[in-house]
């Protein structure tokens, strides 16, 4: 193949995509050439996924135009993208666990190709790229890395000229990642263009020749990834440094012992896509906010379940103490009675029940209060309603009528309700995941202000969030959760967006040595 180096393989011109009032992609210009590995870099929510979905025909742009070999195209569906020669490997695979490798691949090929032919091609092509795969193996029995090879192989058998990989290494061990890179370099040498989405700076430096950086839906720049330092890349990804005046005032109760302490807690992964927690240790003192940063999928959900008590059966090692007394054996309701309150990330069906009224949702985490439920087990709906009214009043929750279903509230208002519900009890410890995720700016500010007010009563707060800016503004100390491991916390004033970005990208490892 001798690709024309002058005309890019794929060009995006002024690509914009909006969801309601939210602009996910804003006027993005983009070029990728044949035989090039091109990184798409950005924080969560920067617009990377939206952009590749546009390229792969899963979404269509509101404005702008794609060019393929210099000619305008409209990519209407994934099928159309595949027919053009675009292949995509998703972060969560679309494989069939109970079927064999060959059967999985056969399903993606046109009818009429026999299973034995498929097996032969699997063997040839996988040998060609140094990906050992047995065509008869059951996909469910394969490691995640091997499953990814099946996905890649499925794309390769369709001879793509552009291959998109969405955070391919997030599920891989370092060795598997190295093997993947070898395959991708082979492909590049054969003239295939590769669009590689990642937030891991070392990988981008090692693998790609160009990097396009997105922030808040806009393209920041396209740079030469080899000649740009990791530090510069991190800065471009996260943005400017913070104004110190916006930070939470220092801890009031200085010198106090830690109120809540977790030491060497481990939890094995429940499924292939879950993250195992290894040796998690953290502590937080009264009046302090501890921020836990990290990209989604690095163990946030699992950690929340351990802290809330939902996962008491799964924790294999370590201790969890409140005031020096172990709470490791207590379920969520018992922990709540001791003053530990949690707000999980998922509102729908986890932190709230959308088919039930706000009064009922108020009772969900207040059923041990004798006010709401008498000793004989009778619920006082009058009191629950009063509680819900109080939450609504104190935390400015906008409701359509006096006791609506939780599902009829907007996301931001339901979030305020859920956080208010837990704050109402003046907790000793509040653990919040993604406090302002999907919430408008006004509501986000209200939530942050309410959390700060709580500090004055000596409440300790743990915030688990992907929103770096929020963590930098809110926290006293920050640590990073990366691949199920938690780094040592750093004082927030010593942390810059850049240094934490490097930690999240796995470059500076106070996170612990990555096994090699």
């Amino acid at each position: 193949m001798s690709p024309d180096r002058e005309i890019p393989l794929l060009t995006g011109r002024h690509i914009s995509k909006r969801f309601g009032t939210f602009t996910a992609n804003d006027d993005i210009n983009f070029d990728i050439h044949a035989g090039e590995i091109h990184a798409l870099l950005g924080e969560n929510g920067a617009g990377k996924s939206t952009f590749v979905k546009l390229v792969y025909g899963l979404l269509s742009p509101d404005e702008g135009q794609f060019l393929w070999h210099g000619a305008p195209v409209e990519i209407r569906s994934p099928q159309a993208a595949r027919d053009m020669g675009i292949g995509m490997v998703f972060q969560h695979f679309s494989l069939f666990d109970v079927l064999s490798v060959a059967e999985n691949i056969q399903l993606a090929l046109p009818a009429g190709i026999s299973l034995s032919e498929v097996k032969e091609r699997v063997i040839t092509v996988s040998a060609e790229y140094g990906m050992t795969l047995s065509p008869d193996a059951r996909v469910g029995d394969l490691s995640v890395g091997e499953q990814q090879r099946v996905e890649i192989l499925r794309c390769l058998l369709q001879n793509p000229s552009l291959l998109i990989l969405d955070e391919p290494t997030s599920v891989l061990t370092p060795q598997e990642a190295d093997q993947l890179f070898a395959v991708l370099r082979r492909l590049r040498d054969d003239g295939c263009a590769i669009l590689f989405i990642s937030h891991k700076l070392d990988e981008i430096k090692a693998l790609t020749s160009k990097a396009t950086i997105l922030r808040a839906g806009k393209k920041v720049t396209t740079c030469d990834s080899a000649s740009t330092s990791a530090k510069e890349l991190a800065e471009l990804m996260v943005g400017a440094a913070l104004d110190n005046s916006m930070r939470t005032p220092p801890v009031l109760h200085k010198g106090a012992d830690s109120l809540f302490c977790v030491a060497q807690v481990s939890r094995p992964a429940a499924t292939a896509f879950a993250t195992a927690l290894q040796d998690i240790s953290l502590s937080v003192m009264s009046g302090e906010i501890l921020g836990i940063a990290g990209i989604a999928g690095n163990g946030q959900t699992e950690l929340m379940e351990v802290l809330s008590g939902e996962a008491i059966g799964d924790v294999t090692a370590g201790k969890i103490e409140l005031d020096g007394v172990s709470v490791a054996g207590l379920g969520p309701d018992m922990r709540r009675q001791k003053g530990m309150r949690c707000v999980p990330e998922e509102r729908n069906g986890h932190g709230a029940i959308i088919n039930m009224s706000l009064s009922e949702n108020a009772l969900l985490t207040a059923s041990h209060e004798p006010d709401n439920v008498s000793a004989s087990g009778l619920v006082s709906w009058v009191k629950c309603h009063a509680l819900s009214r109080k939450i609504i009043g104190s935390y400015d929750v906008r409701t359509p009528h006096h006791d609506p279903l939780a599902g009829s509230l907007s996301g931001g208002n339901l979030q305020k309700f859920m956080i208010g519900r837990e704050m109402m009890s003046r907790p000793r410890l509040l653990i919040v995941a993604q406090p302002t995720w999907g919430v408008d700016i006004g509501a986000a500010q209200a939530i942050r202000a309410a959390m700060r007010r709580l500090l004055e009563d000596g409440t300790a707060i743990i915030i688990i969030s992907q929103d770096l800016e929020e963590l930098l503004v809110m926290s006293h100390r920050i640590c990073v959760l990366n691949q199920g491991q938690l780094s040592e916390p750093l004082p927030a004033q010593d942390v810059t967006a850049e240094s934490i970005g490097l930690m999240m990208g796995g470059i500076t490892n106070s996170v612990s040595e990555r096994a090699v």
Binding site: L59, S60, E310, P332, L378, V379, G407
Partner: protein
């Protein structure tokens, strides 16, 4: 292509409309079936739904039929609310009748003043113990409760058959498979109402049924236990977050529904038969499933739902006598009614649209657990 789009919000009016429309549609479809079978549809529908209400004693009998349906249906509401599929209420009813029958037949005479309370207790314990089997297997081994509870219904039918033909048979029954008559203390008497007096076969059991329904409504809507049942069924993950144990909920709802089915068995025999025989139920345990759905899983609405379904049972009798329509047509009507209720559920939860174009595009997932 027919397409379903989830509705973001469902108004309470729509929810009320579903059972009403379902009943109406089922009646219309029932009429079509009568016509297809060669009967005059209007006459048949009159015999089915109006004739049974034309005499006061018939109204009493309507309540007699509805009585076990109310009691069992209330228990099933608890199960289905918790997303536990007990379909073995028929067997639990039989076991309840046996538990109560054992008390009635063997309680010493000096204890007869305690007869009915002890029979109620015996019936409820026996019914609950049969339901405890799927409860235990479900919580311990995740065994499917649907098949286990159903298999036990067949077993229960054979147990009663064995008892009334063997150990418990009345030696004076001339070889008929019947136990001795219960002592008077073990019988539930006919109810005499003020002004109208006795109404057909109406008995005191209906008061038990009304109490059960009321109590069921109270527990489900006014107690923490009821709240836990609702949360566990509606949002299991939220239940774990709140700290409600799913196993305790599973066990409780199965025991409650088993106990209530057992109570229904006790009432049926004591009020209507006065002795045990191989056949003591006429599918009440299965019919109650439809009652629970028709009531939209609300224990208070179970009374009305049971009356509607009981009317179709009586109507079957009346249509058979007057027009020779086979009584099993009631079963067809019940099946159609359940289908209509399920379709109504879909129409309230999804927007139905028909489009002939192929639309490409967005990905979204629509998986939902059973």
């Amino acid at each position: 292509m027919m397409r379903l789009t989830p509705r973001p919000y469902v108004s309470p009016h729509q929810l009320l409309l579903v059972p009403v429309l379902s009943v109406l549609l089922s009646i219309i479809l029932g009429g079509l079936i009568f016509a297809a079978l060669g009967y005059n549809a209007l006459d048949a529908l009159y015999q089915f739904f109006v004739a049974p209400l034309s005499r006061p004693d018939q109204i009493g009998n309507l309540f007699v039929k509805a009585c076990p349906l109310i009691i069992i249906g209330t228990g099933l509401v608890f199960c289905y609310r918790a997303n536990i599929w007990n379909i073995g209420a028929e067997g639990q009813l039989i076991f309840g009748a046996l538990g109560a029958g054992w008390v009635a037949l063997y309680l010493p005479e000096s204890w007869h003043f305690m007869m009915l309370p002890l029979m109620i207790l015996g019936g409820m314990i026996a019914g609950a113990s049969l339901a405890a089997v799927p409860a235990f297997l479900k919580t311990r081994f995740q065994t499917n409760e649907i098949l286990v509870s159903l298999m036990l219904t067949y077993v229960a039918g054979l147990v009663i058959d064995w008892l009334v033909r063997g150990p418990w048979r009345d030696p004076m029954s001339f070889g008929f498979p019947l136990t001795p008559y219960y002592p008077d203390a073990a019988l539930i008497g006919k109810l005499s109402l003020p002004v109208v007096g006795k109404l057909g076969q109406l008995h005191w059991g209906i008061l038990i049924a009304l109490c059960v329904s009321g109590l069921g409504w109270f527990i489900l809507s006014r107690t923490l236990a009821g709240f836990k049942v609702r949360v566990a069924g509606d949002a299991p993950r939220a239940a774990r977050f709140a700290g409600f144990s799913p196993n305790i909920v599973t066990f409780s709802v199965l025991l409650v529904s088993g106990a209530l089915a057992g109570l229904a068995g006790m009432v049926e025999v004591s009020a209507n038969m006065g002795q045990l025989q191989p056949q003591i139920s006429f599918g009440y345990g299965f019919t109650a499933i439809i009652v629970a759905f028709l009531a939209r899983l609300n224990p208070a609405a179970v009374i009305l739902a049971a009356l509607i379904v009981a009317l179709s049972e009586l109507g079957g009798d009346s249509a058979q006598i007057a027009m020779g329509i086979p009584k099993v047509v009631t079963g067809v009507f019940k099946g159609i009614l359940l289908f209509m209720l399920l379709a109504g559920e879909t129409i309230t939860r999804y927007e139905l649209s028909f489009d002939l174009r192929m639309t490409g595009g967005k990905m979204s997932r629509g998986d939902a657990d059973v």
